[in-house]
Amino acid sequence: MSASPSFSPLTGEPRVRPFASTPSRTLRRYDRLAFGLSVVSGLIILALLAGILYQLVFLSVPALQRFGFGFLTSTEWDPVHEQFGALPFLYGTLVSSAVALLIATPFGIGTALFLTEMAPKNVRDIIAFVVDMLAAIPSVVYGLWGIFVLAPFIQEDLSPVLQKYLGFLPLFQGRNDGVSMLTAGIILAIMVVPFITAISREVLLTAPADLKAASLALGATKWETIWKVVLPYSRIGIGGGIVLALGRALGETMAVTMVIGNMPEISASLLRPGHSMAAVIANEFREADSAIYLSALVAVGLVLFVVALVINLAARLLLWRMRGVAKN
C-alpha cells in the first residue's frame, strides 16, 4: 500500500515529497491516465457542442433559406399559411430576461452583502439556506404559483398602482390580464436571485479583511467600506454571477410559458402578454405537422443558441476588460 500515491485532500494533486528525486513509475502512469481522461472529457464536451450546433444549423436550413434574414425581422408567425418570423419571440426572451436582471441584481447583491457583512452567524446560515432552496424549486411550481398568486396580484394590485403613478410611460400602458411580460420578468427574477446571491457571497467573502480593517481605521463608515472597498474588489466575480443568472433566464421555459401569455406580439408595454423563444419551441414542437414548420422551430432554437452565446461572450469580454483595468 505504501507504493500507492497519496493526494493532497485540499487540492487533489499528488503530494510531492520535497526530497524525492523523481515521481515513481506508478505515479507517472496515473498521471498520464488522469491527463488522458481529462483531455477526453474536455473533447467530448467540445464535440457535443459542435454536434448540437451542426444539427441546429442543418435542420433550420429549409426555414432560413425560405425566409432569409426576414426570419429575424418578421413579426408574423402563422403556422396555417406557413409564414414564420421569430422577432416577437426574440424580443420576448430579451425583454423578460432584462426585466428579471433589473430586479434580481440589486436584490441578489443586497442579500449577499447582508449575509457576508451584516447578518449574525445563525441568521446568516438560515437565510443562505433558504436562498439556495429557491434554486431547487422546480420551474413548473414557480409557474403554478405565478398563475394563481402572482398574476392576480399584478392584475389587481400592482398594475393599477403602476398605471396611476407611471402610466405616462409607454411601459405601463394598456390592459393587464395578469399574465404579461412583467409577470414573466418577476418570476424569472425570483428564479435567478439565488445564482447572483450564491456567487456574490463567495466573492464578497474573498475581500481581504485587512483592506476592510484599514478602511474602517481611516474613519470610513461600514457603508463606505462596502461601497468603496468591498464592492470594487468583488465586482468582476459579481458580474460573473449576473451572467450566469442571465443564461438561466434566457433559457427558462416552463415557468415563463405559464405566465407570459404566449402572444407573439411586440408591445412597448410590460403589462401586455408576450412570448419567448424557449416557450414557442416547447409549445409547438409536438404538433408541428409540416417540414417547414418544424424547421422554423429549430431555427428559433438556433437563434436562442446564438443569442446565449453572444451574450456570454460579450459579458466575458467585458469582465476581461474590467480585470485588465483593475490590474492597472
Binding site: 403556422p79 396555417v80 405559464m258 401569455g261 402578454p273 409536438r286 404538433e287 405537422d289 409540416s290
Partner: protein
C-alpha cells in the same frame, strides 16, 4: 441466441421479463396467453394525447386478458404520425387524418380506423351567470377575432334573451401549444365563418388575430378561464366535464342550440349521410337536430401490409378488441363518445384488411 430465448422463456420466473425481450422484430414468435400462435405479444403505438386515457385503459385490460403488451405513448398526434411513418411505432393515433403529403411519405397504403370521438367545449367565466350561454360559430369567430369586444354585445344578447350579460371586456383564452383541440375548434369556425376561413384558417396552431391569452394544455386554458373574470376559452369536453366547468350550447347546422355531451357527439356522427371510403372525414358542423357541431374523430393509423406477419396478427386482434362493444362502452364511461354503428361497421372492415407480408 434464439434457442436460448425460447428455452429460458419456459422458466416461469423469468417469463414475464423475457416475453417483451423476445417479442422484438426478428426474434422468435412466442405463443401468447390465448394460445393463438403466430401473433406477436408486444406492440408499440403512440400519438394523440387526447385518446391516451382511454387507450391506457384498453391496453391494460387487454394485457390482463391476453398477456399481450401494448405500449402506447402520448406523443401528440403529429409525433405519432411521424414515428409511425419511420416505423418506430407499429401504429399511430391521431386527431386529424393524415394529409396527402404525410400519406405520400409512408409510400405504402395506410388505413385510417376511427376508434373514438370527442368534442371541444366552449367554457366561460361570468360571475353570477346560471343559465348556460348559447353561442354560434360566427359569434365565437368574431369574439376570437376581436370584433365582438363586450359580453353585452347585441349579437350575444340576441342569442341569449333573458340572460343578464355584463358590460365587460371579453378576455379570450386559447391553447398556446399545438393541439387537435385547436384544430377541431378552428375547423368548425372556418365552416361557419367565411372570414375565419379566409383570414385564419385551420390548423393545430394558428396565428391568433386579436389579443388573447395562450394557456398550455387544457389545464392551462381552464386555469386562466377560472382565474380571469369575464373570460372565454375552449377545452376538450372530457376535461370540461371532469372539471365541472360551465359550457356553452352551440348553434348547429340545423339552427338548434346543443350542449356538448357524450351523447350529442355520437349523434353528430350517427346522422352522417355519406361516409368516405377511406374514413378520413370531419364531423364538425354535422347535420342533424341533436348533433353537437364541434366534434372530432380520433383514428388509429396502420399500414395495410405490415413487414412482420406476427405483428399484423397482433395488431388485428388488438384493434378488433378496441372496436368491440365492450371496449366502446368503456370509452363511454371515461366520457369519450363511442362510435355509432355507421362508423363501427366500416372501421371493423378496415381492421380485417390488415395483413402481413407473405
Amino acid at each position: 441466441m434464439n434457442w436460448n430465448c425460447v428455452k429460458l422463456n419456459l422458466t416461469a420466473a423469468t417469463a414475464a421479463l423475457l416475453i417483451s425481450g423476445c417479442g422484438q422484430p426478428g426474434g422468435p414468435v412466442p405463443v401468447n396467453a390465448d394460445g393463438a400462435g403466430g401473433a406477436s405479444d408486444s406492440l408499440m403505438g403512440g400519438g394523440s394525447s387526447f385518446v391516451y386515457p382511454v387507450m391506457n385503459r384498453w391496453t391494460s385490460d387487454y394485457n390482463k386478458k391476453t398477456g399481450v403488451q401494448v405500449n402506447y405513448q402520448s406523443l401528440g398526434s403529429s409525433g405519432g404520425v411521424k414515428q409511425f411513418t419511420v416505423k418506430t411505432l407499429d401504429f399511430g393515433a391521431t386527431d386529424a387524418p393524415m394529409n396527402e403529403e404525410q400519406l405520400a411519405e409512408v409510400k405504402e397504403p395506410v388505413l385510417h380506423i376511427p376508434v373514438v370521438m370527442g368534442a371541444v367545449a366552449v367554457t366561460y367565466n361570468i360571475a353570477g351567470l346560471k343559465a348556460p350561454l348559447t353561442l354560434s360559430g360566427p359569434l365565437i369567430a368574431d369574439i376570437y377575432q376581436g370584433k365582438i369586444k363586450k359580453w353585452n354585445d347585441p349579437a350575444i344578447v340576441a342569442l341569449n334573451s333573458g340572460v343578464a350579460l355584463p358590460d365587460a371586456d371579453i378576455v379570450s383564452v386559447r391553447r398556446a401549444d399545438g393541439s387537435g383541440t385547436t384544430f377541431i375548434f378552428a375547423d368548425f369556425l372556418a365552416k361557419t365563418s367565411p372570414e375565419w376561413e379566409k383570414n385564419i384558417g385551420v390548423g393545430n396552431s394558428l396565428e391568433w388575430p386579436a389579443d388573447s391569452i395562450g394557456g398550455k394544455g387544457n389545464e392551462g386554458v381552464s386555469a386562466q378561464v377560472q382565474r380571469q373574470a369575464n373570460s372565454i376559452g375552449y377545452v376538450e369536453l372530457v376535461y370540461a366535464l371532469e372539471a365541472k366547468l360551465p359550457v356553452a350550447a352551440i348553434i348547429n347546422q340545423a339552427q338548434k342550440p346543443v350542449l356538448p355531451s357524450v351523447e350529442s357527439v355520437t349523434a353528430a356522427a350517427a346522422e352522417l349521410t355519406t361516409v368516405p371510403e377511406d374514413l378520413r372525414m370531419s364531423i364538425t358542423n354535422a347535420t342533424g337536430d341533436g348533433a353537437y357541431p364541434m366534434a372530432g374523430i380520433t383514428w388509429v393509423v396502420a399500414r395495410e401490409t405490415m413487414d412482420d406477419a406476427s405483428k399484423a396478427a397482433a395488431l388485428k386482434q388488438f384493434f378488433t378488441y378496441i372496436l368491440s362493444d365492450e371496449s366502446q362502452a368503456k370509452a363511454n364511461e371515461l366520457k369519450y363518445s363511442k362510435l355509432p354503428e355507421k362508423l363501427l361497421t366500416p372501421a371493423r372492415e378496415k381492421v380485417a384488411q390488415i395483413k402481413g407480408k407473405p
